[in-house]
């Protein structure tokens, strides 16, 4: 069964459209009525639970504070005003924190992609003699819950071994540790393992060296998996809170996620809610753009990373 799930996740055809309810079941009016009701109720439930909080946030981000406090569930008792979004963006430095988040995410993405592609290329295609030992050491880190690393990783960043420098209050403190994702390497290597090795042989015969093979053959063939790893890297880093909170103490460098809780006490409610809306905009946009990617392969990847 597992392998069948895996096969499906790798893009193979699903097992046909046949499900629990058969055509004969559907023909019975009682069954049909019950199922339609269940499906309708489920859709309404999902809409309220999944969209409700967001819609409320969107509404409250453009209504006055007093309305939100006194009658939080009223639609627009005293009209709405898009200027709260503008105020949030310009006057509370949300623009700066937003750009900090963007910088952090871009750097983390670059480090993650670099480590994952080069590592998977070596372990899957170049296959050095000691490759399995290294792969084993990488896989072993999957067994260690990330939280265990919190304190020692923090101390490592405070005083980087051999270099004796501190990365605290630099983006490097967030960028570099992000690369140590065994999960990225595993899925990237699995994809590389599935590439046709004859092509690499042909490239070698044509005189391509390891670098050329990597850059001009393997990477262009890996666009699908690069997309998957990228989208999850971006969303994951956008959501991160605890680690940037620890290593970026200077408010001028902090990303949105770290600033929002502090902003709450110093900002008017309507402006604050507008800020919340702004910081969810990018992840939601990415989700809507790449829905298929999320709804197909996300579950497991998201779960293991935790």
């Amino acid at each position: 069964m597992m392998s069948r799930v895996a096969k499906w996740r790798r893009g193979g055809a699903p097992e046909g459209d046949r499900r629990i309810v058969s055509v004969a079941d559907w023909r019975r009016p009682g069954v049909r009525r019950t199922l339609r009701t269940i499906h309708g109720v489920t859709l309404v439930f999902l809409f309220i639970v999944g969209m409700g909080p967001l819609l409320w946030l969107a509404k409250s981000a453009i209504t006055p504070t007093q309305d939100t406090l006194r009658t939080p569930m009223a639609l627009w008792p005293h009209g709405f005003d898009l200027s709260y979004l503008v105020t949030a963006w310009t006057q509370t430095h949300i623009d700066r924190y937003f750009m900090n988040t963007v910088w952090i995410v871009v750097g983390c993405w670059l480090v993650q992609i670099t480590v994952a592609t080069t590592a998977a290329y070596t372990l899957s295609i170049l296959r050095p003699r000691f490759g399995n030992v290294i792969l084993g050491l990488v896989l072993a880190t999957l067994f260690v819950p990330s939280i265990v690393l919190l304190v020692p990783l923090y101390l490592t960043v405070v005083n980087v071994p051999f270099l004796n420098i501190s990365m605290i209050d630099t983006f490097w403190a967030v960028w570099l540790p992000a690369g140590a994702s065994a999960f990225n390497i595993v899925i990237m290597k699995r994809f590389f393992d599935g590439l046709p090795h004859e092509i690499f042989e042909a490239a070698r015969v044509d005189g391509a060296g390891p670098f050329r093979l990597f850059w001009s053959v393997v990477l262009p063939m890996s666009r699908p998996i690069l997309g998957v790893v990228s989208v999850f890297a971006v969303i994951g880093e956008w959501k991160d809170y605890l680690w940037p909170l620890l290593v970026l103490r200077n408010p001028d460098l902090q990303p949105l996620s770290v600033r929002l809780p502090t902003l709450q006490s110093s900002t008017q409610l309507d402006i604050f809610l507008a800020a919340l809306l702004i910081s969810s905009a990018i992840p939601i946009a990415l989700f809507l753009l790449f829905q298929r990617m999320f709804l197909r392969g996300s579950g497991l990847s998201g779960a293991i990373k935790g």
């Binding site: 097992e15 969209m51 909080p53 967001l54 690369g179 390891p210 959501k239 809170y241």
Partner: protein
């Protein structure tokens, strides 16, 4: 496999470039993964304060943690959290996935709606829900419940309801991911089994009970383990909702680690934090090992 050996001899002529390709992995994992893992173990037996050189203190850190009155509170709070997360969050995604897999229209809409809360940044969700949980009668949830004559409830303000409130939000934020896993697993049930069941005159309910659920047994166990591992490590939710209060009713093991290391007025007690981390890791390691044992066919099939 001669092909592979061919690649290897090619490489051995150029071991240097192999090393270059391995460098990012070796440096990043060496400095930010392998070294800190080793250090966590070493630190748990040391007294470290970053100023004076660390000294070996044997099992003192572990003894200090175990004799901390907050340790028992944190462990029982974490277990309570895991139990509540199980009650709230375990059956709902399964029911949703079974219903959703039977829809004929708007399939994409159902799963998009279910998954949407997962992509919202946790900080945003928590701050938003903290506002929803306003204990005054004008709070969002209290207004809604007021329409049907319930409440107002104290939500996060009361030691009795604080933890369930946190778990409710955490469940909302995570359930979509589990739904997607179940939807994929439901596709893998061989259709012949349903046909066979129908020949025996099985009703829809019979088919769910005797075909679908037995077939999902493996994946149900996996999501159970994943949920245990994830809930034991939640930080953002209890930290931002309540900071451990009221009256330490939501202090989890993770908040305690954070407290030891980063919130101590006398300077961080990194040794105690490391000792507690190692204990948590050992406990979770059991679950992780079972998880990888169950999913081993995924990583080897390729």
């Amino acid at each position: 496999m001669p092909k592979r050996r061919g690649m290897r001899t090619w490489v051995s002529r150029d071991g240097l470039s192999t090393l270059v390709f391995l460098l990012p992995l070796l440096i990043i994992f060496g400095v930010f993964s392998w070294f800190p893992i080793g250090r966590a173990l070493v630190m748990s037996f040391q007294e470290t304060n970053l100023v004076s050189p660390p000294t070996w203190v044997g099992f003192n850190n572990f003894v200090n943690v175990l004799s901390d009155p907050l340790f028992g509170t944190a462990v029982s709070n974490t277990l309570y959290f895991m139990l509540l997360a199980l009650i709230f969050g375990y059956p709902i995604p399964l029911v949703l996935a079974v219903v959703m897999s039977e829809t004929r229209h708007f399939k994409g809409l159902y799963s998009a709606l279910a998954y949407l809360p997962v992509v919202i940044p946790p900080v945003v969700s928590v701050l938003l829900w903290r506002f929803f949980y306003d204990a005054s009668p004008n709070g969002v949830f209290n207004s809604i419940l007021g329409w049907v004559g319930l409440g107002p409830f104290p939500w996060l303000q009361d030691p009795g309801t604080a933890m369930p409130s946190i778990v409710l939000e955490a469940t909302w934020a995570a359930a979509g991911g589990t739904v997607i896993i179940y939807l994929a697993a439901l596709l893998s049930v061989p259709p012949e089994l349903y046909d066979a069941a129908e020949v025996d005159g099985a009703s829809i309910w019979n088919k769910i009970w005797h075909v679908t659920l037995p077939h999902l047994r493996g994946i149900l166990l996996i999501t159970l383990i994943l949920q245990f591992i994830a809930t034991a490590q939640l930080f953002t939710e209890p930290y931002l909702f309540t900071g451990g209060g009221p009256a330490n009713s939501t202090t989890t093991v993770l908040l305690l680690i954070y407290h030891y290391a980063f919130q101590n007025s006398l300077g961080g007690d990194y040794g105690m934090a490391a000792a507690l981390s190692v204990m948590l890791a050992a406990f979770l390691g059991i679950f992780t090992a079972v998880y990888f044992w169950l999913t081993r066919s995924w990583s080897t099939s390729s």
